[in-house]
């Protein structure tokens, strides 16, 4: 188990370097000049542009910029925004907000998704199965921003059940609607995957053995079926964390949540390379760490992995 964890940790290093490099290249090689963009339509003073370029290191070759950036990174310096603030400071304000939102959403995803999927899987081919299938298809088909506006329009504007904007991100009641909207898409995928693995594993030989052993149904489903069926579902939830971050950009915009998504969206619109790279680097780190945790959890659940 220890060796397995160490191996996974080592495998993460090249992926981390590769992914951050990719982000860095995407921001710096693609057309679009952030310094020039600061002036908008007005004519810029070439001397000032050059000075700013130098200040942000943009006059260096890209590879040197990347190495400098990574070296700074290991000293905890994620660079400065064009506004002059440290990226890490901006992040430390916004990150806990998004973290709360995402965790809340993942909790909804797990409870509702696995619950619905298990129900459909146990009743495969019957009415609840078809009902859940159509419901999840619909949820997957409605883009997050449409769903967000619909939810806000109906629940907040028309019915007045919830506040349309999140003023206080530590208030779970206010966070509920954005978290719910954020969770919906992944929840639908989790429900479908759970349904499939449940229905599949129901037909497995070891389920027949469990039945032949005279175990009560509660135990057959709760121990033998659940354990096996949750393995792929947990893996999926792990790989899906990235989608949550993408979804957070939308949801935070609609419900005015002051989180990472908002910061990132503004940075992209103003082509603030350092902020984008800084935020995305931290996100990639978080995603990789979550994947590691999921991998370890996977090994705990499946002995065939643990002893491989």
């Amino acid at each position: 188990m220890g060796r397995y964890a160490a191996r996974r940790l080592l495998q993460m290093i090249p992926i981390f370097i590769g992914t951050t490099l990719l982000i860095f290249l995407m921001v710096h090689i693609l057309p679009g000049d952030p310094i020039r963009a600061m002036w908008g339509d007005k004519a810029a003073d070439p001397a000032q542009v050059a000075a700013l370029r130098h200040e942000f290191g943009l006059d260096q070759p890209v590879w040197k910029q990347y190495i400098d950036y990574m070296l700074n990174l290991f000293q905890g310096d994620f660079g400065k925004t064009f506004g002059g603030r440290q990226v890490i400071d901006v992040m430390s304000e916004a990150f806990p907000v998004t973290l709360r939102l995402t965790l809340f959403a993942i909790a909804i995803e797990i409870v509702v998704g696995i619950g619905l999927g298990a129900w459909a899987g146990l009743k495969a081919g019957k009415a609840p199965d078809s009902g859940v299938l159509i419901f999840t298809l619909l949820v997957i088909s409605i883009p997050v921003f449409v769903l967000g506006y619909l939810a806000r329009f109906v629940l907040a504007d028309k019915l007045g059940w919830v506040a349309p904007n999140v003023q206080d991100s530590e208030n779970w009641g206010q966070l509920f609607l954005p978290a719910f909207v954020l969770a919906m898409l992944s929840m639908a995928y989790v429900a479908r995957l759970t349904r499939t693995t449940f229905a599949e594993n129901l037909r497995a030989d070891y389920m027949r053995t469990a039945l032949a052993k005279g175990l009560p149904r509660r135990r057959i489903v709760g121990v033998h079926l659940l354990r096996n069926s949750l393995i792929p579902v947990i893996t999926f939830i792990g790989t899906d964390v990235g989608a949550f971050i993408g979804g957070a950009v939308i949801t935070e915009g609609i419900f005015n949540v002051q989180g990472v998504g908002n910061v990132l969206f503004r940075a992209i619109q103003t082509s603030e390379g350092t902020t984008i790279v800084g935020v995305v680097t931290i996100l990639v780190l978080v995603i990789l760490l979550i994947n590691l945790v999921i991998d370890l959890l996977y090994a705990v659940l499946d002995p065939r992995i643990r002893y491989a």
């Binding site: 037909r203 497995a204 030989d205 070891y206 027949r208 053995t209 469990a210 039945l211 032949a212 052993k213 005279g214 175990l215 009560p216 135990r219 121990v223 033998h224 354990r227 096996n228 393995i231 659940l301 499946d302 002995p303 065939r304 002893y307």
Partner: protein, 352 residues
């Protein structure tokens, strides 16, 4: 002409309950599967009995209904698509098909246990073998986790798994095929059931390991005086351990006989074909016999005798009339205990 509706048997010491009924009696059992391609009639009127300490071998190709019958006895058929439109399965005289789910569950594992063919897929891959063995004691006897583990180790020792104490927390994939099948046997034996159904218990194993596992099973059966239904397609396995044989074809029993009688002189062309297709050293160099044709499609079983399209002896009557299970006698009309054949021409087959 007389017909047999159950094979004769001497009641064993433990089989005789108050009613004097046999340990297990299957009567006119029918099982069908409703699928997209039509209704597959997997079992079409099977009768057999098993007594305590007795071994019944059920022989047949895949699709002959031998496993489906066993699953119906265990009560683990997938229903739907499976359906039991007719028949009785009496355990100690009581029809299990009319029992409640809870009553049947209590019988499963405790009174009747099953050993499956492929132990690797039949054991839960993510639970340790100790947990899976201990579950029997915890669920049926309410033991604590600790007690159950101690009993699991005992069981593993009993089926001669080396270093049982160290291996009790291992997972199925860490054992060899033979050891896994021993674990399956241990699980079936855990609560000392009255009847064990072994569905091709050695098919997935190496030949050398096969003999060990069969010997172990036979030995434990004797020790506990259990009834054993041994389902197989391997004539070699049967000869050593079985008391009597039922040969199945297209969901029916086509021949029943005490084990050595059957090998000596089969009374059904299908059994004869099976025996003739075993390679023999004294016929080296000759072409090996094979039954021509394929097993029938269970959604469209031929009229008359189901075997008629493949039978070398088939005549017009075989294509129209379903043969009943005739009582097989000596040429002079003398009784042969426990023999029956569902062939219109059984006399010609056995004596001809």
């Amino acid at each position: 002409m007389t017909t047999i509706d159950k094979t004769m048997s001497v009641p064993g010491p433990r089989g005789g309950s108050e009613s004097g009924a046999p340990l297990l009696e299957v009567r006119d059992l029918h099982v069908e599967f409703h699928t997209r391609d039509g209704v597959a009639k997997a079992v079409n009127g099977v009768n057999y009995t098993v007594d305590a300490g007795e071994t019944l071998a059920v022989l047949g190709e895949s699709g002959s209904g031998k496993s489906v019958t066993a699953q119906a006895i265990m009560g683990i058929l997938d229903m739907p698509p499976g359906k039991i439109p007719r028949g009785e399965i009496r355990f100690r005289g009581e029809d299990m098909l009319t029992m409640s789910h809870e009553e049947r569950r209590r019988i499963r594992g405790q009174k009747i246990a099953m050993i499956f063919q492929d132990a690797l897929s039949a054991l839960n891959p993510v639970l340790s073998v100790g947990y899976q063995l201990g579950e029997m004691f915890r669920v049926h006897q309410g033991m604590s986790k600790k007690q159950a583990k101690a009993r699991s180790i005992e069981l593993m020792e009993r089926v001669r798994i080396p270093a049982a104490r160290e291996r009790v927390n291992d997972y199925p994939h860490q054992f060899s095929g033979g050891m896994r099948q021993r674990i399956m046997i241990a699980m079936a034996l855990a609560l000392e059931p009255d009847l064990i159904i072994a569905d091709e218990p050695t098919t997935a194993l190496d030949v050398t390991v096969q003999a060990q596992v069969m010997d172990l099973l036979a030995e434990l059966q004797q020790e506990f005086n259990m009834g054993l239904i041994l389902i197989t397609h391997d004539l070699g396995v049967v000869a050593d351990v079985a008391d009597k044989i039922a040969v199945m074809y297209a969901g029916r029993i086509v021949e029943t006989a005490p084990v050595h009688e059957l090998y000596k002189r089969p009374a059904h062309p299908y059994t004869r074909g099976l025996l003739d297709s075993i390679p023999r050293l004294d016929q080296k160099g000759q072409e090996l016999y094979a039954i021509k044709g394929l097993p029938p499609n269970l959604t469209r079983i031929p009229t008359g005798c189901a075997f008629n399209p493949r039978c070398p002896k088939a005549e017009d009557i075989c294509r129209t009339d379903v043969p009943v299970l005739h009582r097989v006698t000596e040429q002079g009309g003398g009784e042969i205990a426990g023999r029956g054949s569902a062939c219109h021409f059984w006399k010609e087959t056995i004596h001809g």
